[in-house]
Amino acid sequence: MLSQASMRPPVVPFVDSPPRNAIRIQGLGKSYGAVPVLEEIDLDLPEGEFISLLGPSGCGKTTLLRILAGLETDWRGVVEIDGAPVAEARRSQEIGIAFQRAALLPSRTALRNVQLTLEVCHRSGVFDPERLLREFGLGEFLHHYPHELSGGMQQRVNIAAAIVHHPRLLLLDEPFGALDELTREALWAWLAQLLAVTRQTAVLVTHCVEEAVTLSDRVAVMSARPGRIHSLLDIDLPRPRTGRLDEAFAREVTRVRRSLYAAVDAGGGGSP
């Protein structure tokens, strides 16, 4: 994976100065017209943590992610990234985002699609796009166009384009949702390994319980109409967790799933 030189030093928590919050959300609310989408969202995320937003469709988890990316306006409350307003984080290009549908230009090769991010960014300490793609197992496909790549490969290019400028915050909106199960599991392992090195703070929107349990330090289970955080669950499993069939993993999956069903019942008629 990524070399030592590209690693961030691990966060060392001191007794009197706990790791600072990468994300602080307080009393966040958002409505579309008269319809409340998000209400009273409070969430603190320490630096380097991986959190999943899990919930039924319509619970506003994607809207929450878009607010963090600075893509939404007209919301209420406080949202801070690294202690500054979210617009500031966007201006300093501290955000990398990957959506379910790979956002690639059909007329650019895999390599040039990753370079697209750097053409817009003016940051130092970025990854070398070519090396990044090689480390992502796409060395032979640098000069292939998106339509010549499989869905899993496209998504790897997409994530490469999202992290190539080394943002502090990685936002993932169901990036594996459209892939088949085996590809998805392979990419979970790959992403977990990647983040173990880059130690970026990451927020994942998903509706897949196994995905949330495999990748997250914490899972925020949301209920719908309006979207609220129903419960926050710590996932206390040793890493790496992928491909595990043991009981502890199954127990965590069941625990999260139970909480999800409770959230669905609590919500205003959302479906899982």
Partner: protein
């Protein structure tokens, strides 16, 4: 035979059969040479007065290309205004709908009696003919841009200019080229029609003159020239498209 050679052969057959059909039609229809001159007489016109024909062709093409350029600039500006400031579209669209739907030949009459025999009315007519397909396709192309990709660049705080260069323009390009196929030929049509109304030079003027003089041979010669120009315009668009979208084709 390789498949890729089929269109080349098909066009070769087309061009080879035109004189044959022409001669055959004269033979069976018994039309007089004044109405339907034989290819040899038309060839004589082309051979005897190359300078005169070239001058009038250049006049027409000059008007067509200039008007075409103006139409492209206007269409690009207006399409971007529509996409970036949707309010503009609400207020400008009724005007474009109205102007587009008045048959342009009737507007041409008004323009010519108002502005007289100079470049201005001819340019305006050419612009009228090719502006609307260009505008419609550019707007469609910009709107077809991947919203996910635009969001990704927005999260990177990309400027409007960057979003235009990296996303909007590449996604509008196929639509834009498709518009050229029609609009480029349309600009030549517009220029000829403008000259037809009121002019002392240009291919349209030659048509009017030849008709009043019963010079079928000149009419056919002008037809050959205009046809060749329009076809050349069409094929240059096709070649451009093939080159710009070479990445689409299997290596």
């Amino acid at each position: 035979m390789k498949k890729s050679w089929r269109p080349v052969l098909a066009y070769f057959l087309l061009f080879a059969s035109i004189p044959l059909l022409w001669v055959a039609f004269i033979h069976f229809s018994h039309l007089p040479a004044v109405v339907l001159p034989p290819p040899s007489k038309v060839w004589d016109v082309l051979r005897d007065e190359p300078g005169f024909l070239a001058y009038n062709t250049a006049v027409t093409m000059g008007e067509a290309l200039l008007g075409y350029g103006v139409a492209n600039v206007l269409a690009l500006i207006l399409a971007l205004a529509f996409v970036w400031y949707p309010a503009t579209e609400a207020f400008v669209a009724p005007w474009t709908v109205m102007i587009k739907n008045i048959p342009f030949v009737t507007i041409a009459g008004i323009l010519l009696i108002t502005l007289g025999d100079n470049l201005a009315p001819k340019l305006l007519i050419v612009v009228l003919v090719c502006f609307f397909p260009l505008l419609a396709n550019l707007v469609k192309g910009f709107r077809a841009a991947d919203s996910v990709l635009i969001d990704r660049l927005a999260a990177l705080n990309a400027t409007r200019g960057q979003v235009f260069r990296k996303v909007l323009w590449p996604s509008a390009l196929p639509y834009y080229l498709a518009a050229h196929e029609n609009a480029f030929t349309g600009s030549i049509v517009g220029a000829i029609i403008a000259e037809w109304f009121f002019a002392r030079k240009g291919l349209g003027y030659l048509v009017v003159q030849a008709m009043s003089d019963y010079r079928g041979d000149v009419l056919y010669a002008v037809n050959l020239i205009a046809g060749a120009l329009a076809l050349a315009a069409y094929f240059s668009c096709k070649l451009m498209e093939r080159w710009l979208f070479r990445w689409k084709y299997p290596r």
